[in-house]
Symmetry: C2
Subunit: 448 residues, 2 copies
């Protein structure tokens, strides 16, 4: 087994025991990047020299007996919306040519302080406004989409090109690429991870979170990212928690909500079968399933778009006027469409969000977790724009990819995607889990 193949937790163990050196690990990861990235293009930029320097420092610290925690000496890829001091934040866009971040984002600074080694910036669908990340190929079949918008991070995590990556998630952008590449993607509670220094798509829906190979690894990263930062106005002012799981998690008595509606409608039969298999496995481990009804489903798409479109357009207002030709056409069209939205649509979306938050909070009192498909279909061929369901209806690929994940962005509840198998074409299938917010964390986006 090569060092790049280790999970974060396992690598951390080896580093702590001084059986693995951070330099050895980063060299192995950089070699793996050299090997796979020409095929999948997960990275916008690899900062090999800085990474080797940081790894040497981590090694020297380890030699002195200093161990900063489980991320000590562990390489990471950061979605290229996340500022790293001195590096460009390209947002995978020509609009950002010549950009250079003056300071670290909060999350980059926290990773560094925890000893993590930043190896490079991973591709995003341009400015995070899409679900495919067309520059990047899927880790399992480079002719298929990586998913998006954190496509580079999903592919890097799954392909061994980063032990873990950070993504951002506004409608599913961490969980969708995680699901399509067979990685674990976690979108935390709204406000838990500060977004200072992270390019915004839609500030009332944006989240930062980890893409990893295991749930334990996601918990290790989250523990480092959690914590208040007043420079993000939505940052929760609550004590940071240790999110690492207990050694022997016990599912006895855990109530798993299985949606009767919405989450299994227009879902590929192979995806449904794998997810139902995953739910059966939870039952084997002691959980009890409860049938539930997802509330307000006909408002989900309108609420997501009603919030996202005007907020995204407001962010790009300046450059949309001065350099519209530098945007990719799909993104420019979405941004320009946002200019036409009326104030009434935006305020109705805000009111609808408030109601959905209340309904989901009630639902998540009845069950501890909701289990469902993460995305209704696996990775499609690059360039495929729509899919046809068995009832003859068609749907845009990006609408399909976002539809099951966006409720967690609207409501702010934490949401996870975990791999639960592969379809007959060999492509990974993701199962989503939604759970309630921690009790004292209520500073969610509210209509006023």
């Amino acid at each position: 087994m090569q060092p790049y193949e280790l999970t974060l937790a396992h690598a951390a163990q080896q580093i702590r025991a001084r059986r693995l050196s951070p330099v050895e690990l980063v060299d192995s990861v950089l070699e793996r990047i050299d090997q796979v990235d020409p095929h999948v293009e997960a990275y916008v930029a690899v900062t090999a020299e800085q990474a080797r320097g940081a790894a040497r420092e981590a090694e020297q610290e380890a030699a002195r007996g200093m161990f900063r925690g489980p991320l000590h000496g562990v390489p990471a890829g950061l979605k290229d919306l996340i500022d790293v001091a001195g590096s460009p934040t390209s947002a995978s866009s020509r609009v950002r040519a010549g950009h250079r971040a003056a300071a670290d984002s909060t999350v980059a600074a926290r990773l560094r302080a925890a000893g993590s080694v930043l190896v490079g910036k991973t591709h995003t669908h341009e400015f995070a406004y899409g679900l495919t990340t067309p520059q990047t190929g899927n880790a399992w079949d480079r002719g298929r989409v990586a998913g998006g918008s954190s496509g580079g991070g999903g592919v890097a995590g799954a392909a061994g090109a980063a032990p873990f990556a950070l993504g951002t998630d506004t409608g599913g952008s961490i969980r969708v690429p995680a699901a399509l590449n067979g990685a674990v993607g976690f979108k935390p509670t709204y406000g838990l991870v500060p977004r200072h220094g992270v390019t915004s798509l839609s500030w009332s829906l944006d989240h930062v979170g980890p893409i990893t190979r295991t749930v334990e690894d996601a918990a290790l990263v989250l523990t480092v990212l959690d914590g208040h930062d007043p420079r993000d106005p939505a940052s929760l002012n609550t004590p940071a928690l240790d999110h690492r799981p207990e050694q022997e998690p016990d599912l006895a008595g855990v109530r798993v909500g299985v949606p009767r509606n919405y989450y299994f409608d227009h879902v590929d039969p192979e995806v449904e079968a794998a997810v139902r298999g995953g739910i059966a496995q939870l039952e084997v481990l002691g959980a009890r399933t409860v049938e539930i009804d997802i509330p307000m489903t006909r408002y989900i798409q309108a609420t997501q778009w009603g919030l996202m479109a005007p907020e995204a357009t407001a962010y790009h207002e300046g450059t949309l006027r001065t350099v519209p030709e530098l945007y990719q056409e799909d993104v420019r069209i979405l941004l320009e469409a946002g200019e036409l939205m009326g104030a009434g649509d935006y305020l109705r979306a805000q009111r609808s969000r408030t109601l959905m938050q209340e309904e989901w909070a009630r639902l998540l009192e009845k069950v501890d977790v909701i289990a469902a498909p993460a995305v209704p279909l696996t990775a499609v061929e690059a360039g495929q724009e729509s899919i046809t369901w068995s009832d003859g209806s068609t749907e845009a690929v990006s609408d399909a990819y976002v539809r099951l994940s966006s409720p967690a962005n609207i409501t702010g509840v934490p949401a996870l995607s975990v791999p639960v198998g592969h379809d007959t074409a060999g492509m990974p299938i993701g199962m989503a889990q939604f759970s309630r917010r921690p009790g004292n964390r209520t500073s969610n986006p509210r209509v006023t």
Copy 2:
């Protein structure tokens, strides 16, 4: 002295001492209404029989030694946006013809429970969307405007046609008519008084509060209105307080902020002189004045309108489509203009509000209270649409009346208007006081 001339506190004292009967008091107030209301038209409807019935009950309770508190047996006028079970809530509009409220609003129910006797519904500028209340004449000169939108309440309070009234305030609608008629008007902290059952103008700016003859009376009414009600989503979930002042309020050490900018720009010299006289009086009583700078003044008007216009239009969406001809022209034009507002304008107004809230909170750490003119000019002649300032610039009358009060709606801070004299035409002048929100009350409207 006739009973209708008593302040609320004095009437309460007399009733408690059984030197005044609630029936005697309500008869005196109803007689006063008969005498003055044909001239000023403060009331939409007077419910004399119900009022006499309620007064008899209050009297019987008093005879049994039961005394519900300082509002026991004291008549009140309610702005006709406030639901009273079984009565129409006309909003002074033809759109509401045939309306009948099924249940009491929270504030009407609380007044009744406190023993208050509802004598009638007072005029509002149609649906509260204006600063003049054209149906109603000023208490001091019926050829001049009453101010608005709670014009009926301001006039009734000042003219002895109600010991106190309830108004609503979205940009100054309690404080403006109080100032123009020589009454006390108080807009509480946002969320302190529940708005359930009160017709909305703009939910993120709407407040309910008292119009009285003294500050002590305002505190007595506020103590009854304060308290959480989950049926208003913005209602603060904090313990209700007793707002009655100490017997000997001490101003020693109180820091009074006197604005260097904005609040004395384009202000009538007689108004300025009276307000500066009021401030000097505070100094005589021991307060210390501090010069302050009002933040973000160029955003005040755009923020107020950017929030109010789309929220008002959203509320009227249905009737604006079906019965536009039933609205007064000024209100219909404002509502239709709101339909043209873009989502970007609304979200920019929300963001600007968040910044203004932060800036005012910082300002109100430096001083305990801000003293300034309530309105820049006294009551104008009915029908006058604009005024010309000494530098030759002109301003719409309603823009002038709203400009000094709306910052308290945007920021949610409590704001009071108190009489400080009369101009040479004999018209009352109001001084405003703004103070900080109570420490634990932070659930203000926030952009997310």
